[in-house]
Amino acid sequence: MDLGLDVKERNGWAVLSVQGEVDVYTAPQFREQLIQLVDQGQRSILVDLEGVEFLDSTGLGVLVGGLKRVRSHDGDLALVCTQRRILKVLEITGLTKVFTIYDSVDAATAGN
């Protein structure tokens, strides 16, 4: 099971596109990538979840950890997600109130 992670710059955002399944096996790669972005000085991180086929609480923990880390440096981490199955997981755990969630990368980065 592979996890695809791709980082691009867009209007001051570091856009991290995630593809595949995020679970206890693949989450460490995801976590490491977010830590690396913050350590590199990125303060506006956008995680694009449109290519995610599966996300469980381990993946949610990585997202929350990333948010805490970047906020401790006065930054922010937002999400791009329109998939019902992923939004449902975020809603059940109350995380739709914690993260800013955009419909697209364009919508998120347009006003930065």
Partner: protein, 142 residues
């Protein structure tokens, strides 16, 4: 007709995906569970297997027993009792980092029951099938 499918996997993170894929495929054989509910079951199986594996010794195996019946699908996961402590905390007034896991398990299956006996635990996850499936046991035509 009730059918039992048993799966035993090494208690390692890379095998959790195989467990949820197998259970998801089994759930779809018989009608009565919509795709979205099968997806919910896959998430809960992933949560339960992750909890179990985190509490099991290296080199051990994780057993899943699936009881596929016309009206329900049960997935029973066996592990040492301590393995499920994080998913089913005894003191719910003190939520910790595993609260996402218990929220998902409780929200996404129709019933989740933890049975413990002398240090051993069986987590039983139940999904009820739609009434329309009562007359169709999902057997393939001859």
């Amino acid at each position: 007709m009730e059918r039992v499918v048993e799966l035993e996997i090494p208690a390692r993170p890379e095998f959790v995906g195989i467990a949820r894929m197998a259970v998801g495929a089994l759930a779809g054989i018989r009608p009565g569970l919509a795709y979205e509910r099968i997806d919910d079951l896959r998430i809960v199986v992933s949560e339960a297997c992750t909890s179990a594996i985190e509490g099991m010794e290296e080199g051990s195996n994780l057993r899943l027993r699936c009881v596929d019946a016309p009206k329900s699908l049960e997935v029973r996961i066996e592990a040492p009792e301590a393995a499920f402590e994080s998913a089913f905390p005894k003191d719910e007034d003190e939520p910790d980092g595993d609260s996402f896991r218990i929220s998902l398990i409780r929200a996404l299956v129709d019933d989740a029951d933890l049975r413990t006996t002398s240090g051993f635990a069986e987590l039983c996850l139940v999904m009820h099938r739609d009434a329309a499936s009562d007359e169709d046991d999902g057997d393939l035509p001859a």
